[in-house]
Symmetry: C2
Subunit: 361 residues, 2 copies
């Protein structure tokens, strides 16, 4: 149990962008907001999953919407607190701790902002182990936690509470509301007790993100190879395996806002094989990397597009023609690869006509 | 104060279809549902506005959605009760009486169903004095009652509670939810006390609807002219003036579902002047009737399309090429014609580039 430092926030913003696999929202905006929240309200404790007591009253939180909209529609910083107050009022009780519903981009920062405001700890874990585009794509849902009540708020202080016993329906309704809130909302849901939280969460993903950022920062300071350092770092974690699945130049980015998501395809011309482009399909996050009909990596394994020179992750909305990139594939922990988990956030959940193939296979 | 009889329900279904001015949902489905509710739960009292005590805890209710969808997506009959329970749970108190939020189509029946189930009276008044397509188009809103909290439910038992201090925003968010609930939802909102209810409601619109239906039934039984009887009946009410503004054959119906509404234009070839068609613009309800660049009638005054032979009202979704019709214009009461009221549901509120012109002018 330790307080989250400003340096942690800095490192987290890099690691969360990487775990975001393109999605999860701009980490720069999140970083500024989290820093401001710590300055205003004081320090926030990061609580490891094994320190969570059975009876702790835990709530998940994050932002919903298309990342492309987030950079045009700045949050006020008060949205998520408004959502939590609406939730607490609905439940008639206070929550004790905050858990990120996803470990990516802005959604690693929103829980810190909320925890700072409410003087609560943040749990070092999450429900996705990465970023996913839909609210039902949560280990919380996979392992039986109801998605509702769900409370949403927007920057005008409008709130909506959704109650349905189906997580995909909750996603569908919340997405509809989010679109009408201007494409971006802030929400709390998946209320659960501490014992459940320990059972259903992807552990240590906040410290993993911080570790990723720290590793890259230290490599840069030492003028060492950040990519090599990153791959070595993953070997020391429960994600274990990271490897470069493509290197090349972006020769096409097709991307648009559809149904409240950023969807598209990025095409990379490999340096070593220009005639065989690598394509990556996107729904907020990078879903599948293919080359010449072969799957290089596929959800839920991570597909991270990194700047060639710095190895800094590039989010979906910042992909551009001409960028030179490495594509890193990363294995996800066992809790995300069970048949139940793959049914909820494996290839078929995204309508991909491909079987799941583990990165290391 | 009297109980609503089965005969009243029958008459109300005709009158509500007429006040619905094309919208408000199919009165036949509503009639069946209201009858079933009375059979299951027992009688419902109709309480005149001047009998409403100051401290009475009143809630408005009705269905939201495109009428064209209602006839394909039958309600279970339990939706509105689910919505009220969610509302009462949010407010932490019970309601004492139900008021229709609109006096049209199914929305004259939904309050009776709800009142039967909860053993509460229905107030003989409403917030539109007719049907309008949007939730902020309420005298309740015009005269200062907050539209929220607003509770919505669908036929699967899913509920959503919306809180915003702007009635148009409440409409926008609720419409988004309704679309994702399959195009039809049931909602309660505009909670207010009895003194407020007396001040902000259009009086006696339930008994007006019942009177319209009774007048037409009795005319049919006496083989008298139903249209003449109807016009005479209106003269005895606070709506005062009804007159035929066109008679002819429908030669075109253009109608589609857009943004959760049924929108379109119906074109009528007048018997007495075939070269000068009458057009009626529709957004769920009939908004404006024009001929040769002249306005024959315009919102909020009523534009009712009636079968030529029977004078039975034809709802938007049942308009067909070849129907022979009378178009009846009806004056609305003063509470609906103030500058504040016209700002909320006059021509400009529908984007019509026409000034309001009273029917009788």
């Amino acid at each position: 149990m330790a307080n989250i430092t400003n340096q942690d926030i800095e490192d987290l913003s890099v690691g969360a962008a990487l775990l975001g696999t393109g999605g999860g929202g701009d980490p720069y905006i999140g970083k500024l907001m989290a820093r401001a929240a710590l300055e205003t309200h004081g320090p926030v404790e990061l609580l490891s999953l094994d320190q969570v007591p059975d009876g702790m009253n835990v709530i998940a939180c994050g932002a919903m919407g298309a990342p492309t909209i987030l950079i045009e529609k700045m949050p006020s910083g008060e949205e998520i607190g408004v959502a939590l107050r609406a939730y607490e009022s609905r439940m008639g009780r206070k929550v004790d701790a905050i858990i990120p519903f996803e470990a990516g981009g802005i959604n690693s920062m929103v829980p810190i902002m909320l925890a700072a405001e409410f003087r609560l700890p943040v749990i070092d874990a999450d429900g996705m182990g990465r970023a996913f585009p839909q609210l039902e794509m949560e280990t919380f849902n996979v392992y039986g936690v109801p998605a509702c009540p769900l409370a949403l708020a927007d920057e005008q202080g409008n709130t909506v509470i959704i109650e349905t016993d189906n997580a995909a329906k909750a996603e569908f309704l919340a997405r509809g509301v989010t679109i009408r809130m201007g494409g971006q909302s802030y929400l709390v849901n998946y209320g659960m007790d501490g014992a459940t939280t320990r059972r259903v969460s992807v552990p240590a993903t906040m410290s993993l993100s911080i570790g990723i950022g720290r590793t890259m920062r230290e490599a840069a300071e030492a003028r060492a190879d950040a990519l090599e350092a990153l791959i070595n770092f993953f070997q020391t974690t429960h994600y274990e395996i990271a490897r470069v699945i493509a290197s090349g130049k972006i020769i096409d980015v097709s991307r648009r806002e559809r149904n409240g998501w950023s969807v598209g395809v990025v095409t990379i011309e490999p340096f070593d094989n220009p005639g065989k482009p690598v394509t990556i399909q996107i729904q907020n996050e990078n879903l599948i990397a293919e080359q010449d009909g072969m799957v290089l990596a596929i959800v839920p394994d991570l597909i991270c597009i990194l700047e060639l020179d710095t190895s800094m992750p590039i989010t979906t909305e910042r992909l551009r023609y001409g960028q030179r990139v490495n594509v890193l594939g990363v294995k996800v922990p066992p809790i995300m690869r069970t048949p139940e988990a793959l049914a909820v956030f494996g290839p078929s959940a995204f309508g991909l006509d491909r079987d799941y193939a583990p990165l290391e296979a």
